[in-house]
Amino acid sequence: MTGSSPSPPTTAETPTPQQREPVTTIFERSVAGRRAGTLPPVDVPERPIEELIPAKLLRDRPPELPEVSEPEIVRHYNRLSRRNFDLDTGPYPLGSCTMKHNPRLNERVAALPGHARLHPAQDPKRAQGALELMWRLERALAEICGLEHVSLQPSAGSHGELAGLLLTRAYHADRGEERHKVLTPDTAHGTNPASVTMAGYEVVKVATDERGGVDLDDLRSKVDDQVACLMLTNPNTLGLFDENIAEITRMVREAGGTLYYDGANLNAIMGHTRPGDMGFDIVHVNLHKSFSQPHGGGGPGAGPIAVSDRLEPYLPVPRLVRAESGDGAAPTFDLDHEWPKSIGRLRGFAGNFGVFVRSYAYIRSLGGDGLAEASETAVLNANYLLARLREGRAGKYLPVGFDRLCMHEFVLSGAPAKRELGVKTLDVAKRLLDFGYHPPTIYFPLLVDEALMFEPTETETREGLDGLADAVEEILAEAEGDPEIARNAPYTTPVRRLDEAEASRRPVLRQPL
């Protein structure tokens, strides 16, 4: 446990070896004449390129790509990799991001040539294994979400949101209605309102009540025949399950709106309750959150959607279809492009298949019981960490925003720490880096002052959670003595606090060459 280890440095007087490394880009390592890649020779009768393509359509001067040897490339990117903190190194309790372990089996099966080397335009007759895998994943997600119809096509949660809103638009248009408003709670992820605007709707914010749920009176005053949809995250971004969810979905449904469930927090409820049973029409599932696709430093992910019967006719094309064979042989699968009411395509081909392979392997590894247990452990871990952080200095300086049992994540407020110690949430987060922890999500959700949002996931052990709680306690103890320690942190990371404002004021967005 951290408590028994020596504390990290409290000054930056002696730079670490990593801090002394010069920072050069791959372009700055370029030396004319060096190269890594080799190509096959031209083995066909060669003609001047101008005979093949008119000169005016040809490039005059090659792009300035780096000239580097293979060992140089490997060293460069290995060195860069060591300048990242990652989930395989230590706890990563980033709220709303579900940083759970990425099983390496999934990488292995995704790399099988039958998956990795399969062309997306291969004739479906000769890609039956891939289509069957997608079908099985669709069925599993339908069961987990309690909604029967699935499209795997969206590439991330935000893409799923846009899809759901375009489905909503198509649904109302088909009924001869034009509605303009989409309701989102003030606790919503930023992607929700951004998606609403992209789908051509107006955002109407719904307030949060003193229990941390949707304010029913405010909702009632805003639900009318202009409401196209309500987008909700449940458990919400405070980590709280909305006790009034049945009432909320009933109100919107009666007013004719659709109900969109942001599945970012699905990891809290798998096998315990289902969005479809709560009354939702559309759910997106972040395969890179609940279903173990590695986050990759910002993708790839996938955001499949599951929908109710009333929205099914509008799902994106191509749709995956299964045909039973009459003669007792195995069923066959195909991609069907002919759905007259479909909203159309959202992207090329049939989606991020490599992600589907990993998430399908994850679901099969755990089974239904295993998924339910993963959610139980995630909720247990979050409540345990919350209990630990209610003690001592954390309880005093970082009180919980809404004092209830949480689901898989919870939000603390650093307002007392800022007021009484002069240490902001940002400072606590930066000091955690010196202790070897990735900080929680900070300054979100917006309605909690100086918010810190912790999501430990089922991956962390009790010892890991104790270490994190001990580190927070020690940081606050340090701050009582000398707030400058946290204010100037971090000291041990590859670089220290960075000037983010300058990077936007005078943007340097590429290597000058």
Binding site: I53, K56, G114, H115, H119, L509
Partner: protein, 455 residues
């Protein structure tokens, strides 16, 4: 742990879920598998796919069977790149942020446009994202689209356009290229942007400069979807008066993966920087003056700007973009030109070789760089089936998306398809067409005039 929480059981932690909403049965999913059973199950599914190691793949249509260098897998599989989140804490994300900065530099160089983002989902949705920018930048809501744009891009654009409240107008092709006459009448004072692709879906190399000039005349932007791997040879969009270049990044060291994950890229002229979608890394300094990188211009993004954001994207394709920049470093400045020329030479050879066959003629005679289209005087699906029995995926059937080319076949070349492979394809096609026409005696066999492929 429950003692510390003050709960008697784990079930109590779920007490806030109303009883009527709790799932009172186990999920109806198969029981969990051991690692070895799970591997075997997935391997058995994979076995049933005809992949590009098991047959000779001439299919392109946006994704290509290029060689993926070993170092791409070796580096992208490192935990430090594979498992972090988006770099919200830059002090411990310098590796990922610098990769984004290098990626932006590489894309900017390839396209000859000054600002690039750090990736979008993939190709067609990047085209649609450019429409969102164009509408915002011009205040106009008409999108003029060449029929040479990938059908998936056109369909995606139409899907998004319903949300944007925009109209999509299509311009046809003439001789494989965007029809200049139709284009001129389609572009008007309400046009936000012209959308073209280079090389276009039929493989033809468009005159981007002329197309962009026509758009400019109407006060519209030009959005070009480009294949980055051809940009060692083809004139880059930034030198042709194009304001926004986007594209599919799979050809840069990406797996085929049955269509994804890959990455999309997006670059533009400076004036559009603050409307760009997605993450952008920028250079800055730390408290001690050391060089470092951060997410720049975040006030464009959804987590800050919410409903006023320039896009809704959060998770994009960082790991695939890393693969792209490693690939481009591996290829290097001379390699990107050599590879582009190799593709052009092999494509020219394959095109002539096939055009000389009975029952095959060129669909168009415009210049091509890495892919070309032919017409078959036999049912395309039947021919593809026959050729596949010889272990060859001969190409992409155009008929579903281009009913006017019901007899059309699109054939792609990569550095992995040698002259001997091309000869094998030609022989197999000749046999298949002859067999089809033998089977259907009424179908006249007619040889097209010997086509000399010219620039």
């Amino acid at each position: 742990m429950l003692d510390a929480i003050g709960a008697g059981s784990v079930e109590e932690l779920f007490a806030e879920i109303p009883a009527g909403l709790r799932l009172d049965r186990p999920l109806d999913l198969p029981p969990g598998l051991s690692e070895t059973e799970c591997f075997d199950h997935l391997a058995a599914l994979a076995e049933r796919n005809a992949h590009a190691d098991a047959e000779l793949c001439f299919i392109g249509a946006g994704m290509y069977d290029h060689y993926v260098p070993a170092i791409v897998d070796a580096i992208t599989q490192r935990s430090e790149f594979l498992t972090p989140y988006t770099p919200y804490q830059p002090e411990v994300s310098q590796g990922g942020l610098q990769v984004m900065f290098e990626f932006q530099t590489a894309i900017s160089e390839l396209c000859a446009l000054p600002v690039a983002n750090a990736s979008l989902y993939e190709g067609p949705s990047s085209v649609a994202s450019a429409a969102y920018l164009a509408i915002g930048a011009t205040g106009r809501r008409r999108l003029v689209v060449s029929r040479g744009l990938h059908p998936h891009s056109r369909e995606t654009l139409r899907t998004y356009a319903r949300g944007f409240g925009a109209e999509v107008v299509e311009v046809g092709l003439d001789g494989g290229l965007t029809d200049p006459g139709e284009l001129e009448s389609a572009l008007d004072a309400d046009t936000a942007a012209l959308f073209v692709q280079n090389p276009n879906f039929l493989g033809a190399v468009e005159d981007l400069e002329a197309l962009a000039a026509a758009a400019q005349e109407a006060g519209a932007l030009t959005v070009a979807a480009v294949d980055p791997l051809t940009l060692g040879v083809l004139r880059p969009p930034g030198e042709c008066g194009v304001q926004i270049a986007v594209g599919e990044g799979q050809s840069l060291g990406g797996r085929l993966d049955f269509g994804g994950p890959s990455f999309g890229f997006f670059c533009a002229t400076e004036e559009h920087l603050r409307r760009m979608p997605g993450r952008i890394a920028g250079e800055t300094a730390d408290a001690d003056g050391r060089r470092g990188f951060v997410l720049a211009l975040q006030t464009r993004e959804q987590h800050i700007r919410r409903e006023k954001a320039t896009h809704n994207i959060c998770t994009s394709q960082a790991l695939n973009a890393l693969g792209g920049v490693i690939y481009l470093a591996w290829l290097g400045k001379p390699g990107v030109v050599e590879l582009g020329e190799l593709l052009a030479q092999r494509t020219a050879y394959a095109r002539e070789r096939l055009a000389a066959l009975d029952g095959v003629e060129l669909l168009h005679e415009a210049a091509v760089a890495r892919e070309f289209a032919v017409r078959l005087e036999a049912p395309v699906s039947a021919v593809l089936d026959r050729v596949s029995e010889e272990g060859i995926a001969a190409g992409y059937r155009l008929g579903r998306e281009y009913p006017e080319y019901e007899d059309g076949l699109l054939i792609a070349l990569t550095e992995r398809r040698s002259r001997a492979d091309i000869d094998r394809l030609a022989d197999a096609l000749a046999r298949a067409i002859a067999a089809e026409n033998g089977a259907f005696q009424t179908h006249a066999v007619e040889k097209a005039p010997s086509a000399e492929v010219s620039a």
